[in-house]
Subunit: 314 residues, 2 copies
Amino acid sequence: MRTASRVLNDDARVADLTRQRVQDVIRDLSFTPDSMARSLRAGTDATIGIVVESVDDPFFSKLVAAVELAASESERPVLIASTRRDADRERAVVEQLVRRRVSGLLLAPTAGDHSWLQPILAHTPVVLVDRPAPGLAADLVGVDDRAATASAVDHLASYGHRRIAYVGDDPGIPTSRARLAGYREAMAARGLDVSGDLIRADCPDPASAAAATATLLAEQAPTAIVSGATRCSLGVVPLLHSEKRTDVAVVGFGDFTMADTLEPGITVIDHPADAIGTEAVHRLTARLAQRDLPALTIHVPVHLIRRGSGELPV
Amino acid sequence: MRTASRVLNDDARVADLTRQRVQDVIRDLSFTPDSMARSLRAGTDATIGIVVESVDDPFFSKLVAAVELAASESERPVLIASTRRDADRERAVVEQLVRRRVSGLLLAPTAGDHSWLQPILAHTPVVLVDRPAPGLAADLVGVDDRAATASAVDHLASYGHRRIAYVGDDPGIPTSRARLAGYREAMAARGLDVSGDLIRADCPDPASAAAATATLLAEQAPTAIVSGATRCSLGVVPLLHSEKRTDVAVVGFGDFTMADTLEPGITVIDHPADAIGTEAVHRLTARLAQRDLPALTIHVPVHLIRRGSGELPV
DNA sequence: CTGAAAGCGCTAACAA
DNA sequence: TTGTTAGCGCTTTCAG
């Protein structure tokens, strides 16, 4: 009898006695309703999918944690998948999630064209996190990367620095490009050298960032360095320490563990993963409730945290 | 016609012409097979669920990353959920995952009795990660916590330390208890003070660990400290630096960012999240293939990484 | 080689 | 208040 379904769904139209009987049976058989079958019938599933480079990355792990928290508030399970910066893999995992009929998708896109995703938007809402996807008109929740690195340059310049170098992540990623552009603009606005000798904008990991810093130090004698990503800071800062060059000023994009304990403390522009994740889930649920919203770009504010390394004089 | 299904599943018994026609239609309608309906019919779903304290924790984020990687090798999607150290929440999310018919579950249990999970094991394999669950006979993949902290004590003692303090995480968690026990044993084995004055084993976060360290420093004059968890190290080490007491030797359980760049570098016992995650997935898939395996405890080896803070003389 | 029918576990709609 | 029927999208079985 399908009265069982009514009991499970707290339908009012069921006699107390019957309800009791059904619940007894449920207990005796330790019966558990199959939520997948329910989703199939309902035609929709609450799950949301999140696709990032890797979960093992300070920024993305905080992002995923915030997403999981926000999602759990509306009882939505979270499926994770990682791209490892591989466009083919990204496409594969996104399509897998779509086949699973996730109700929506949060995506930190890899580099490259994403127009293949456009048709999917028609039935599966997508909110981009941290960076835009070329060729895709979708919501985006992130920060104003350009203004952020520009403010880092301004900050250093206000302490008298003129030879400010830049170490950045893979320029294929729009976010990296925006950050580099912000650096360039701020340098140019102050009439500072922006010839390119001071720029090493292709360091996708700490090791290459460390190597780039070593070269910069040897050849360009910068008095300050802007690091465009946490994974770069994790190379720049250790190298400065191992070379005993902690006299070089540093402002990093993205906070990290022990930044405050190092000597000097590392001045950073905080990259608010929590706020980005929370906002992204909210935007996604809003779009789930009303499908025809216009594609929006939401910028979460960032803050510069003074800790010493960014306030070193020339 | 149900020939479509045959095309999708690469069934050999279908004429090339028909296959072509079906594929054309699939393309034209941008049809995507519903993997949930498939799972419903098949009675089984490949997804595995992972339940941890929080994704935003260096150890667990590495663990989740490793799990996702290992799972993707067998094409298994990963559902994450966090307990936030709340037993009620843990039960709720586990039951949610079971209702979704995940094929198996990876669980880092909260403190407290877990016998409620026992009946679930009959149909949903569970592999515990990092720590046992009281009242539950299930596989466990972790490290020998006891031996690890004991070796930390031995290491410090070999440099002449006798007043070795201990700062640890919440003692409700079996792992924390095992680590404390290892410390105690090693201290006792050397005839060192283990009265309890040197022990602060209830620091569930960096702030409380920092406060505990301050008290220890003021009242007990330890020459060395064993930190029983990364989250404790993140309080102990900054406090030592802010108090200019970097003469105190430190060995921490669990590696962390910049541990090598601090002065002195922090000697740690690495907590191999990658290996634990990979092993756990392997054990789970093994159990999925053959349900009647005995409950096993698998210990992944740990290594002490010398960086300076653990090799300071008295 | 292809089609038709049945059923996975669930619920909406209708009937009793 | 309760039971029956149908069908979500898929695959397995059995006929054609």
